[in-house]
Symmetry: C2
Amino acid sequence: MNFSSKLLENAVAEFAKLPGVGQKTALRLVLHLLNQDRDDVHKFSAAMTTLRNEIQFCKICHNISDQHVCEICSAPKRDQSLICVVEDTRDVMAIENTSQYNGVYHVLGGLISPMDGIGPSDLQVDTLVERLATAEVKEVIFALSATMEGDTTIFYLHKKLKHFNISISTIARGIAFGGELEYVDEITLGRSIATRVPYENSLSR
Amino acid sequence: MNFSSKLLENAVAEFAKLPGVGQKTALRLVLHLLNQDRDDVHKFSAAMTTLRNEIQFCKICHNISDQHVCEICSAPKRDQSLICVVEDTRDVMAIENTSQYNGVYHVLGGLISPMDGIGPSDLQVDTLVERLATAEVKEVIFALSATMEGDTTIFYLHKKLKHFNISISTIARGIAFGGELEYVDEITLGRSIATRVPYENSLSR
């Protein structure tokens, strides 16, 4: 693209580094910002730098937090003996939105993916083992993506954790509510037949 | 959404103000920035504030520029007697990318749109009239969108400019190259028949 200004070109280049943002979208967003008040643009920029500089990660569950210990870990009403292992903070938000879970979390910060060079040492695995060794935990739930990386991570963690005297579970996989049977892929359908549940159990859930 | 951090919530809210960016996209972009080096995030923020604070508009054509007079207006090789009137800087970039135009520009900064409360006084109309009165201009080309707002603006400008002894033209409208006839809407097709050009002329273009 032929930019009439180096400043504009620079701003567009910075925006275009974001995932899923191409040159044209970046230009549209930058021109939008250019039409805003100086104060608004300053607020936008400041929000990013403040976030990056001042963000903390909960020292217990490693979720993004404003304090040393996040609100979930410090809430007296939450069941500290139930730990849900998730990939990142988006999964915590998704589960919190269901209002179905009253335990605490452990944020791994990623999934084991040899193709991307991400091994167990890059994730919060040791701190999870430490947590199980020191705190009184009854159950660990793996709520990881139903992908190759998710399954690899669960397999690895299960081997690491099975000597603890706790029950280990994964969230149920199957047909989504509202899903039509004929459009479900065969792996999901096959596994949902293999892992069928008694009708009474499916009602109580 | 249930954010685990006020800083995160604030950054997501700022991103979600951008056009076409929803809460989920904003969260994805902010988490991406959070994974970058502090320096990179600082560079991102600084690019926006610097752009907003230091950007200038060419005092001749009103295009975005780093100097008082933009590179196009100050280029000795450009034909100063040919002015292409466009809506905004994106249109200048689009026309520059064709490498077919050697004149200069006039950026209106918008289109007349009574529905949005944008009248001629909000646009760089007076400066265009001034330019025609003082500089030696032979032709004005309207390169505006083929919309109601574009047509209204051309109609208004034509009335304002017709007493000058210059030729006034608009860019050709018709079927796009590569366009299949059966998919062209009837207004475009009808007008492209009405404004048909001699075959020899269509070749030379």
